[in-house]
Structures are given as structure tokens and as C-alpha cells.
Assembly symmetry: C2
Homo-oligomer: 346 residues x 2
DNA sequence: CTGTTAGCGCGTTCAA
DNA sequence: TTGAACGCGCTAACAG
């Protein structure tokens, strides 16, 4: 409104100054702020008045250095905040953390193992009470209990072999299997695959589900129909273009994640909008990950749906079970969240 | 891998223990970790070895209680992490913060002023060096410099009257004006409006742009065509349904945000998919906020596009200008980010 | 180049 | 019911 429009560090009032203004000792201020146990009500009023007058905030950092005092912080490391999937995931984590009076410190790793290492080290230095990590890659050393100096860890969405931590992942194999099955049941025999490389946990598992469905149907995989490694919408479009330009193109495509799905559909749209008319038969799509406006697509669409927010909630629940000592100490829990196959447009 | 699968607080090694193991004083450890200035290289090696052996992490909280030592934390308060728009915004903030070696502490307000108040108080208690806030509502008291004890503040996406803080917002009025103009230019005369209530900053401004375009064209606003207050996709669909069911329905609709756009299009899709055939003319859509797969829609679509991530970056830049003392102390800066009208499908 | 002293803001412990 | 002393982990400032 007026004033010097916040600038400069602006010295921060401390308990001592509040105490002086209220005419009591720092201890009385501390006690009042802690709930007022064993402080005369009238004194409390004086203290709170002084707090208000000075705009005093308790220094949570100073507070947390004393042993036994927790920081109230949960560290969260995700790979890509710009992906709505992870935004919802973080929302779920935040929701449960708030219920337990904890705040989350969020970092983005951008799928870079180096940044992940650094981020986790920093979070530990900030005394987070626990960590929830969507791991990038398969490196396990920086996720070992020793490296984390015992900070409870929950892996989310992806697991890492060699890391003995609680984890909550999706039913990737089953979802991919059932998704691919719907294509087979519809009579498709040439089914393309768009997804992640197999060095990524989910990429590996979803491809496995795809394979399993094909094998069961007695179909041999055609390597020409498999495109892996596209991370974003643009490269996914290119991969889809290659599939559609094959001499013997697929009649349907299984897309293993949201980004590949959008890219594939954009390519379909591009062909539809190109004035050439004649586009021939367009492939049906099965998408692991739901997406908005799926029902508006010009081709048959089925999604393997799941709840990112609930995944976040569940990860947080696992963590708080540990923090509150309600989980069996020695036993690692791996939870698989269900996926639902939904025919959006036949 | 093995071990007691992280449990219990697990006592944390301190400088003292590292010092003892390395056979030096705590100060030497501190100096080594601070860059090694004035420490013999061989001693540094011993120290780092001990650090590694003990799994020592410097306690950033203890570090930051000392005056002059910054916390390295930037507080970010956003309204809805589940909205991809804000996810990208946060990503932009994080990106710039990382460049300056800062971490972000992220909180979700859920459009609840009470939670916003509480969140900001907590962030200040954690000694954040600065705040970036997407404000909920028009309450200004908790955003005053006194309440923030001088912590630099940047408002993003929305501004608040009566708060003298740097702000970065969108060209809401201009974008809405130009978006509506494309409809008028295409010959539309009955143009519906879906958007936020006018008590919300962006709701107010985007409606103003819509109004301005209509007035300029000599068209009087029909209150029946204006629906405000829908916050999510479901209620937006209902509002759209009401518009389309009017005796004299609009031939086009201006949607003031992403959520309303998706809801409106879903309603159009529902009518298209209902087997009744005969759906009559479908309204053209102009959407403030881009959305994926816009080119696949069965009706003409124009978007008023902008870059959420860049908005986040710009907000962070304003903040760091203040923190680094590179901004003129007394002067408030309000930046309007440009919007681009793009015809996706005529 | 290295160690000692002192103190950051707070809350536990003990004494009044 | 209140206060004084002490120490949490860390690092400037000042010896040495």
C-alpha cells in the first residue's frame, strides 16, 4: 500500500524482542507460542499482542536444529513438473503432507541423474523428514540408506533395482497387456508400439505387457513396428509418421505414455487436415495414460487410465507410515496401483 | 540393498564428528566445505574422506540461522498444481531459481485464501529469501510488506489492488479483445462467454476485453449468453449446455480459460456422439489458454496463447533482481506478458 | 594455515 | 507460573 515497498533484508524480530516488548522473558514467549501451557492468560495476551505488533514469525530453521525437533519438511523429487501427470502426482503428495502438518520442498530433475543426486543431497541437508522420489535412471548408490543417512525414502511411479525402499508403482505390465488385448480382440494383427526405452522402469514393463499380449495371440513382434525413446510430443509425431509410412503400416498403435499419444494423434490430425483428401485407413489408438478430449478424436481410442493424484497420496501414506513408526521396520512394501482400460471411442 | 532398510531418525553426523575422524578442528571442516580457501590440500583430502566415510551432510538449517546467511529457499504459492498451466509456471520459476542456486518450496492454496495466509506465514517462518505468489482473491493485508516482514514478493498471473509488489501478469484484456475480434470478423453476432467471476483478477480483465470488442462492434451484451464462475471442467460443461439450449443460442463462444474450454468442447462432443444425428450448427470456440489437440476439434477453434513457463521465469527474474539489489528500490514493476491469437482450425 | 571463542534463535532442563 | 542457564550445528572474527 505505502511504505518502502519491501526491499532489503529488513531485520527480523526475535523472541527476545517480543519478550522485551511484552515485559516477559523469552521463555514465556516460547511457551505461549507453543500452546500457552503454564502461562497466565493475561500474560499470553500481552505476548500475542507484541507478536502481532512486531510482525514476529517463529524461525522454523532455528527451531529445527535442536535434536528431536523435526523440520516439518518432506522432500519431493520429480522428473518433469510440466507434465500434468506429475503435477497431479505432486498435488496428491502435498494433500496428504498437509494433513500431517508437513510442507513439501519440490525439485525438478528433468530426467537428469546428476541433478537428481544433487537435489537429494540438498534436501537432506535441509533436514527433510522423508523423501519421495520419481527416480531417473537405474543408478542406485545415491538412493542407498547410507547415502540418505537413514532418511525414509519412497520411490514413486518407477522402482530401482537394488534399492530397498518402499515403492508405489502402476500395474504397468497388466495395463499394457489389457490395453493391447482390446486391439487384438478388435481383430488387429499389425499393432505398432510407441514408448520409452527399456532402460526406464515403466518403458520396460509396458513393453513387456505389449509383448505378452502379442505372444499369447500367437503373433510375432515385427521390429519395424516398434519405436522407442521418444520423450516428447514432437519426436513422437515423427515416430508415428514413420510407422504410417511403412509399406505395410500398422492398423493400430499402442502408445505407452501420454506424450507419445499426443504426438501420434497430432500426426493423424496433420494427415487429416492436409488437403490431399485420400488418407486411407487411420490406425486405432490405445493410450497408456488418459488424456483430455480423447472422445473427440477421429479414430478409435482406448485409454489405460490411472489416478496420478492417488498415486501421490499413496506414496505419501507409505512415507508417513514409516515416519510415524506404523510400518514394520524391516519389510519393504511395493504397491501396485491399478489401471483401468476404458474404451473412449469405438 | 541390505541394511536395516532406512528406519528411525538415524543420528546425523555433525562437523564435530567429521573433525574428530579427520583429526582437525570443526573450523577446518567448515572451511573445507566452504571451498577450501586457506586449507592445505592434503588436509582437505583427509576432511573430504571423513565426510564421505560418515555420510556427512551440512545442516543447511543450522547454517541459515546465522545472520547474513541466506536460506537458499524461495517460497512459491500457487492455486492449483493439477492444472498444467501452473505446473509449467512452477517449472519456469524452478528453472531460474536453480540458476541462482536456490531451491523452491512449493505450496498449493487450492484457491482458498485461508490456506494462502497460512502457507505464506509458514514460508516466512522458514526464512525464504523471497516469495512468488499466485494470489487467491483480493485480500491484501497478509501481502503487505509489514506482514511479510519485508520479504520480497512477486505476484504472478494475478495482481491484487492495494499491494505494492512487483507483478507479472498476462495481457488479459488485449488477448480477450483480440480473441473476440476474430469471432466478430468471422461474422458472428451472438457470442457466448464462459469464464471466471469478476472478483478474480483475470476474470475481470478477460471479461473486459470481451466487452470492449463487442461494444466496438456496436453489439449489446446479452446477459443470457454470459456464464461465469465455473471453476472446473464439469461445471463448465453444464454452463455450455445451458448456452446451447437457449432458444436463440450463440453461434460462437469465447472461453476465458483452459478449464472452461475443455468443458465446453466436451459438451459439444457429447452432442456429436449422441446417436440422435441432427445436432444442428455447432458453435465456434475461442479459448484463452492453448490446449493440446486443439487442431482435432470438430468446430473452428482459435486460441489466445501464452507461455506459462516464461511467465514463471519472468516472475523469478523480477524476484532475483530485488534480491540481488539490481532493481530500483522504490519502484514497483508490473509486467504484462504478451498473448498470441492463433487460428488453429478455421 | 589452523584452532578458539562466541553467538545466531530457539526450547529443554532445572531452579526459583 | 516464570526465568536462567545451556546447548543444538554451524561459522565469522579473532588469535596464534
Amino acid at each position: 500500500m505505502d511504505s518502502a515497498a519491501q526491499s532489503s533484508p529488513a531485520r527480523q524480530p526475535t523472541v527476545k524482542e517480543v519478550a522485551k516488548l511484552a515485559g516477559v522473558s523469552p521463555m514465556t514467549v516460547s511457551r505461549t507460542l507453543a500452546g500457552g501451557k503454564n502461562v497466565r492468560p493475561e500474560v499470553q495476551d500481552r505476548v500475542l499482542e507484541a507478536v502481532h505488533a512486531l510482525g514476529y514469525y517463529r524461525n522454523e530453521n532455528a527451531r529445527s536444529i535442536r535434536p528431536g525437533q523435526a523440520s516439518g519438511l518432506i522432500g519431493v523429487a520429480i522428473t518433469n513438473l510440466g507434465n500434468p501427470y506429475y503435477g497431479n502426482f505432486a498435488l496428491g503428495v502435498e494433500e496428504v503432507a498437509a494433513q500431517y502438518g508437513r510442507r513439501i520442498v519440490l525439485g525438478n530433475t528433468g530426467e537428469d541423474p546428476g541433478r537428481e543426486r544433487q537435489l537429494i543431497a540438498d534436501l537432506i541437508g535441509r533436514q527433510v523428514e522423508g523423501l519421495i522420489v520419481v527416480p531417473t535412471g537405474d543408478q542406485a548408490t545415491h538412493l542407498q540408506p547410507e547415502s540418505l543417512r537413514g532418511t525414509p525414502l519412497v520411490l514413486a511411479s518407477r522402482s530401482v533395482t537394488g534399492v530397498a525402499a518402499d515403492a508405489v508403482v502402476l500395474d504397468d505390465v497388466g495395463g499394457a497387456y489389457r490395453g493391447t488385448r482390446t486391439l487384438l480382440d478388435a481383430g488387429h494383427r499389425r499393432i505398432g508400439y510407441l514408448g520409452n526405452v527399456t532402460s526406464v522402469f515403466t518403458g520396460r514393463r509396458r513393453y513387456e505387457g505389449y509383448l505378452r499380449a502379442l505372444e499369447e495371440a500367437g503373433i510375432e513382434v515385427d521390429p519395424d513396428l516398434v519405436r522407442r525413446g521418444q520423450q516428447d510430443v514432437e519426436t513422437a509425431s515423427v515416430a508415428m509418421r514413420e510407422l504410417m509410412d511403412l509399406a505395410d503400416p500398422p492398423t493400430a498403435v499402442f502408445s505407452a505414455n501420454n506424450r507419445n499419444t499426443i504426438g501420434a494423434l497430432k500426426e493423424i490430425g496433420a494427415r487429416l487436415n492436409s488437403a490431399d483428401g485420400e488418407v486411407g485407413a487411420l490406425p486405432a489408438i490405445v493410450s497408456f495414460d488418459d488424456f483430455e478430449l480423447a472422445e473427440m478424436m477421429p479414430v478409435p481410442v482406448t485409454v489405460v487410465d490411472h489416478d496420478a493424484r492417488e498415486l501421490g497420496r499413496e506414496a505419501a501414506r507409505l512415507l508417513f507410515d514409516r515416519l510415524l513408526g506404523e510400518a514394520e521396520p524391516g519389510r519393504i512394501r511395493e504397491i501396485e496401483m491399478p489401471t483401468q482400460v476404458r474404451v473412449v471411442r469405438a
